[in-house]
């Protein structure tokens, strides 16, 4: 599909800005493993302190990169399938809101005024620009949903009996989940935190803030994951040389995500006070419900790959694994997606562990957690993002990929790095190693009273894995920016591989419309979250004053003594 210069430039910037910032994010990923292994026993290095870097790492990699990409990939998907570009003004409005928001937050973090980590739990306070920037980024990402929804409604009018393309359904479901869940964090940031951070409100109800954040925070991971799932269903079967085993399975999975992505957030608060055991258990069981669409996906994609392998001549039960295009640089997206799927096996299994309230007592806030999420967000999500970013840029600009043979091995190198890294962190977590901690200063410092030798091998594995990941990341930057610097080879087009369905499945109205699912989603949300919010309002005591990371004395006492 030919697209306008304006649309091309929109996608280029929406991919280029976060990937440029990703250089900082990946640099500090490596640095954390260096600090935590005790190689550095200091609070900061090269003008960036540990917790400042950790904040940059989380915000850039997990919020900025993922949101910009979801918008860019969403634009590309909707435009390609509807053969119509999204509204130009709304597209650029969305871009500028997100970019200005990111710039504000980046300034706050880089100047050391927002070392609060990507969860920004009060009463630790950041500079108001951090909160404002985050709010702008999120509001900017809402805009495309309304444009695409209008395009969808118009398309439906002319195609009432045609199945909505699976990739379009996925994009709309994903952004619906995103819009609903971000309402809570937007309220938290704009109503609870920003006035408090600016000094207009004296206290904040910490449990309420946390509950609203996690209403957003778990659905956030599905917002990250669903673009990768869309690629698994609609792209992977095609580029493996096969077909999608069941298109209907994909639709069922997407609607189950719509129902279960949000009402499970309290599983991040199993260890919190004031939230009742009953609601923790209820949302914990719902979390097992949200595992179902992932099981559906695992089966359906494996079956699709088996079909592809058999078409290429595979024999026997597992022979198909050997007949897939792992190292074919012409279909390099296969490598990125298959490595993501492989990592997600372990990411999903460790996620099931986390969903158990009892096992949570073993793993909560230990290194097990980053071990888990590097096999999910830094697994399929990250690999899908970087693979597809290279693909979209290269096909739209008409430039051939720079160093294609390096490009295809990057995901394998990354996967080896993650496996080593996450093994170290998971093992360390089971031994009580805390997350979000500059271990090198104390727990991994042989000169310190707090030295814990059990964590030496575990942090060493984290360091080795981190170095390998860093090298893979570096190679990606070389490939991506190298491609940008190349000369145009041919006319660029917006082109996405489209998988055909293996079975002839007629359109089922229930799985091709939103209303019944949205209503059910609303009902479950009310049932799951009303008790939790009531707990946060009723069981809690006084709200908390402002604290900055460097001082145990509340901020207003510091400022009043300075008068």
């Amino acid at each position: 599909m030919q697209i306008s210069r304006s649309f091309k430039r929109l996608i280029y910037w929406e991919l280029g800005i976060p990937i440029t910032l990703l250089t900082i994010g990946i640099y500090h990923g490596l640095m954390q493993t260096v600090y935590r292994a005790g190689v550095l026993s200091q609070a900061s290095f090269a003008h960036l302190d540990y917790y400042q870097g950790l904040t940059l790492h989380g915000v850039i990699n997990a919020i900025v990169l993922t949101t910009f990409f979801a918008v860019a990939f969403g634009h590309a998907t909707i435009a390609f399938y509807f053969k119509k570009e999204p509204n130009k003004n709304l597209g650029w409005l969305s871009f500028w809101l997100m970019t200005v928001g990111t710039a504000l937050a980046a300034w706050a973090m880089l100047s050391g005024k927002a070392s609060v980590l990507y969860t920004f739990y009060p009463p630790l306070k950041a500079h108001p620009f951090f909160y404002l920037g985050a709010a702008l980024l999120i509001v900017g990402s809402w805009v495309p949903l309304f444009d695409w929804a209008k395009m969808y409604v118009n398309w439906k009018k002319e195609n009432a009996q045609v199945k909505t393309p699976l990739a379009v359904l996925g994009t709309l479901v994903n952004f619906t989940i995103w819009f609903v869940c971000t309402l809570a964090v937007a309220y938290e940031v704009l109503v609870l935190l920003l006035p408090w951070a600016m000094g207009w409100k004296a206290t904040v109800n910490v449990t309420l803030a946390r509950t609203l954040f996690w209403f957003f925070g778990h659905a956030l991971v599905y917002f990250w994951l669903l673009p990768a799932y869309i690629m698994f269903y609609t792209i992977l079967p095609k580029i493996s040389g096969g077909k999608l085993f069941s298109d209907l399975a994909g639709r069922v999975a997407l609607f189950l995500f719509l129902l279960f992505s949000i009402p499970v957030g309290v599983h991040h608060q199993f260890s919190d006070p004031s939230i009742s055991k009953g609601i923790k258990l209820f949302q914990g069981l719902l979390t097992y419900g949200v595992a179902i669409p992932s099981f559906i996906t695992a089966f359906t994609i494996a079956a699709s790959l088996e079909y592809a392998g058999r078409k290429r001549g595979a024999k026997g039960l597992l022979g198909f694994f050997g007949k897939l295009p792992y190292l074919d640089s012409n279909v390099y997206l296969f490598a990125y997606l298959i490595c993501g799927l492989f990592l997600f096996i372990f990411g999903g299994l460790t996620g099931l562990v986390n969903a158990s309230a009892q096992l949570n007592n073993v793993v909560h806030n230990t290194a097990w957690l980053p071990g888990h999420f590097h096999m999910t967000v830094a697994g399929p999500v990250f690999l899908a993002i970087i693979g597809m970013s290279t693909y979209l840029y290269s096909t739209i600009s008409g430039k051939k990929v720079f160093l294609p043979r390096i490009n295809v091995i990057i995901p394998y190198l990354w996967t080896i790095g993650i496996l080593i890294f996450s093994t170290g962190l998971s093992w360390g977590g089971l031994l009580g190693e805390p997350r979000r901690t500059n271990l090198g200063m104390t727990y991994l410092n042989p000169k310190s009273q707090l030295f814990t030798p059990e964590w030496v091998p575990t942090t060493l594995l984290g360091l080795v894995g981190g170095i390998i990941m860093f090298v893979a990341g570096l190679l990606f930057f070389i490939v991506f920016f190298g491609t940008i610097l190349r000369k145009k080879d041919h006319e660029g087009v917006l082109e996405l591989p489209v998988s055909e369905a293996l079975h002839d499945e007629p359109r089922i109205a229930l799985f091709d419309k939103f209303k019944p699912w949205l209503v059910t989603m609303g009902v479950i949300l009310v049932l799951a979250y009303t008790p939790a919010l009531m707990n946060a309002l009723k069981n809690t005591g006084p709200g908390a004053p402002r604290f900055t990371p460097d001082n145990p004395v509340p901020a207003e006492i510091i400022s009043s003594t300075r008068k």
């Binding site: 009060p122 055991k277 097992y288 007592n361 009580g432 104390t442």
Partner: protein
């Protein structure tokens, strides 16, 4: 009706059985083994750190987490005692993790958290803060020292 492939049917059944096993285990084990912290409504009395001996084998600790220490920071408990930990924070959110005993709670300002643990083996059990709480977070660790009472 929708035709469901034979292998898909098998997979749905297997998935259902696996999830049912997990859910059954969680429901069966609740209150039996490591359990969720108890929900305690806020009261000012818990904000003063204190160790109280209720009887020979029962202790009560009002633990207060603050930047960057736990109060009390060294808690002496005789072997075989049950200890109730009531936890709150004097400032930002802190973690409270006695990893060998699977005690894992968040300390939140204006909230009270509670967990009970039986210390049946002597030793020094570390209480580690595992939630980022500012610049001194990596030095925030306390100890429960469990020993046989002197005769």
């Amino acid at each position: 009706m929708v035709k469901i492939d034979k292998t898909e049917k098998k997979v749905v059944v297997i998935t259902g059985i696996v999830l049912a096993m997990f859910i059954f285990s969680i429901l069966y084990a609740r209150n039996k083994y490591s359990d969720l912290p108890a929900c305690i409504p806020y009261d000012k009395v818990y904000t003063e750190p204190k160790v109280t001996k209720l009887d020979e084998k029962t202790y009560q600790v009002y633990a207060v987490a603050r930047m960057w220490q736990f109060q009390p920071s060294q808690i002496y408990i005789p072997v075989g005692s049950d200890v109730d930990f009531y936890l709150t924070s004097a400032d930002v959110v802190h973690g409270f993790n006695i990893s060998e005993k699977n005690i894992n709670m968040m300390a939140v300002f204006g909230n009270i958290n509670k967990a009970t643990v039986k210390f049946d083996k002597p030793g020094v059990y570390k209480i580690t803060c595992h939630e980022y709480c500012g610049l001194g977070h990596q030095a925030m660790q306390a100890e429960v020292i469990v020993n046989y009472p002197t005769k």
